[in-house]
Symmetry: C2
Subunit: 447 residues, 2 copies
């Protein structure tokens, strides 16, 4: 019998986790399928592979990245540590709990470089279209080799969708926005605070992007930052120059009108209104159709597409946990593809999914969310040999982190946490976060 073939779409943290999972099995002497990963960018790392570009890239593909200059981890690194590759192993000394993007990118790469998996990745290659043959039970994937302007098809037994879901903006319309004279952009196209220096900024949204872009712009010299919320205000004690307002109802030229009857003029509007789960390369019967939430429907154990579990989705949840969650998912998916983990029947899977969906509907606050995602990981980590880690402790850290942010949104990144993988206590960064204007790796690791 010929080797099974696995196709992975995307070489971000999730796709790389899948490659790493197969490599780990191979090192243990197991027979693994032929694995190919397709990545439309020229490098791996997904979101963490920063691009100065907005719009489209060199080959005219939509830019995937939503990260920006001066982006620092917004949660303690101890909450996302790989349990098979610690920060200590990588940096050989304790570092702070909130590293900037280049440092975390370095860490991701450190692990994956230990394996020789780069050869499995076809870069500058976009997945254009997928079909599934009910008779042969195989996927045909249409690929676009961007560098050579060549398309070709390949067949796979399993398809792992690891294309991320924080890339395609959700950009609502507000009456009059078409006549707003200043810059109107989505958080996806925000590349740094510098150009907004001395400006009065309006950010729409009340989640991570609004909070972080707002704080960064404040730090880097915006004149004022207003956050406008639809459902709930973030509700922390904002420093002078930052405030929250209810939702914008409409615009007249540069003037925003808010639900509470107040109005104010702005220089620029940044829509921090989240992202769409978008899979233009999949026929609709294979598409995950969901909003950003902790348990997207139709995914058994959060990964197996219930209609056809040969189709696997990684990292499609809203994320407290990130790298370590992708790992637990990838290890489980691998064991299924290796025939080591057997799925129950479709109906049984449905019952399990529904149980989680019901619980998800009744979550009340951040603490509930953390416990929910911790329990989800607990549920799947035991099904593979991914190294267990102290989930109770991580959940505690997340709750502490929520408190830190509430206490002081400008200084929470100066706190330190303890690794559950190595027990190491994080170092204090040489400079207070509010005074640290340089986010380079060189500066960060400088002693």
């Amino acid at each position: 019998m010929s080797k099974k073939r696995v196709g992975i779409i995307g070489a971000g943290p999730s796709g790389l986790a899948q490659l790493r999972a197969f490599e780990a099995a191979k090192k243990k002497g197991e027979e693994v399928p032929e694995v190919v990963c397709f990545e439309k960018q020229s490098n791996w790392g997904g979101m963490w592979n920063y691009s100065w570009r907005t719009g489209v890239g060199k080959y005219g593909e939509p830019i995937h990245g939503s990260m920006y200059k001066y982006l620092w981890s917004n949660g303690p690194k101890e909450c996302l540590e790989f349990s098979d590759y610690s920060f200590d192993e990588h940096f050989e000394k304790p570092i702070s709990s909130y590293p900037p993007r280049p440092v975390l990118f370095d860490y991701i790469q450190g692990r994956i470089k230990k394996d020789n998996v780069r050869d499995y990745i076809r870069f500058d290659t976009t997945v254009r279209w997928v079909s599934f043959d009910e008779n042969t039970k195989k996927f045909t994937v249409m690929l676009d080799d961007l560098k050579n302007n060549k398309t070709y098809a390949e067949e796979f037994d399993y398809l792992v969708v690891a294309s991320g879901h924080f890339s395609t903006p959700n950009m609502p319309y507000f009456k009059g926005i078409e006549n707003f004279p200043g810059n109107v952009l989505h958080a996806h196209d925000f590349r740094g605070a510098d150009q907004f220096k001395d400006q009065n900024l309006l950010l729409i949204g009340s989640s991570y992007s609004a909070e972080d872009i707002g704080v960064q712009c404040h730090k880097h010299g915006a004149k004022s930052v207003t956050l406008s919320y639809r459902t709930n205000a973030i509700g922390v004690d904002w420093p002078e120059g930052m405030k929250e307002m209810p939702l914008v109802t409409h615009f007249e030229e540069d003037e925003a009108f808010f639900k509470n009857g107040e109005t104010e003029k702005y220089d620029a509007v940044i829509m921090c209104t989240g992202y769409q789960h978008k899979f233009p390369f999949l026929p609709d019967n294979m598409r995950l159709k969901t909003k950003n939430n902790l348990y997207p429907d139709n995914l058994y154990k959060g990964v197996f597409f219930n209609e056809n579990p040969q189709l696997i989705y990684l990292g499609m949840q809203d994320q407290y946990y990130t790298f370590n969650m992708f790992d637990t998912q990838a290890w489980l998916a691998r064991d299924y593809m290796l025939g080591k983990y057997k799925l129950p029947a479709k109906d049984e899977r449905r019952v399990d999914i529904d149980k989680w969906l019901e619980r998800n509907e009744n979550l009340k606050d951040g603490h509930d969310h953390v416990d929910f995602q911790s329990d989800y990981i607990r549920d799947i980590i035991k099904l593979s040999d991914y190294p267990d880690f102290n989930l109770d402790k991580v959940a505690e850290m997340f709750k502490e982190w929520l408190k830190d942010k509430e206490e002081n949104i400008l200084t929470y990144r100066d706190k330190t946490y303890q690794s559950v993988v190595t027990g190491t206590m994080a170092a204090e960064h040489h400079t207070d976060w509010m005074d640290e204007m340089d986010d380079s790796k060189e500066r960060y690791l400088f002693e």
Copy 2:
């Protein structure tokens, strides 16, 4: 025998010309195939359907439009007039030679609304993938109904690609640009001059976009505008506050270094560096692979894909002529699909293409370009019943227009020209272009 089916991709001026061409034949009593047009936007008009958005639209599809506020025709309207629907017929009075975008959009819609073709268009529908079956000689087109998040396939005997080629940016990299602190954008994402008021702007490129965006920003209050050219400067007498420089070699923070050794600091960089012909929905053996030029290779008579003439491309040339050229192309394509116009053998077609390519290679200046495209239209207009128009006269107007621009880049839009369709002399606009800050149709038609 069942009716043949024609699929049209795009409802911009070219796609609409194709619909109109079939409708014209139908009105003459001819039997026409079943025609379906797919348009990913929610309205017709292509580029002329302005969007305030940049990046992606409501459904996460890349925004097609590259037009902006305060965009006025950059050539005399008399050079693009439909020969079967005059400006007089539409506006019922003489208007000026350089109308703003909303007015030309109105004109395009006026003609198409006379036919009942809107029902043939499926809006909010993106063509995702096309394949061609050598046995059945049919195209299968995978469609994505964005509103309903549904995909489906349809078969066609002929496929008309009218998806435009001024939408996917060509965005070169310049060393250091990643650290430029200000706004860096492509002309495609430029939405108006207002936000650049009082700024020092650097525009890279020396063609229509650079010239027009530069002049608009100057008009609307930019502090200074520098245009940086790669091959040739535009070379007109720039007004104070505008100038041309050789190509940028690199950036250091907000400072641009030019080839001539000079340096200057800027607030924003707009890359007016043209567009890519991009067909992500086609397999590479059906893709037109070309730069922006007057005679793309592999298109017989500028429309029939030589490898497979059931595949038709409209409007893929660089454009002096626009609407009237698309019409002559669409009428010819229609007659081929109706079986009224027969193609010679592939080799013969190749010889004809080569003849044009050779001539294209030896063109020297703007006048040569105009004559070339005039001759091309002359070559195809006689092959269908599209109403002939005085091409010599139009070519003369284009040459006059080139001179007008050279004489004064700020006032050329105040000139008037005479229609070759009706003989009407254009009216003078009530306000000098440099003083006209409102580009609405209401203001334009106000007396």
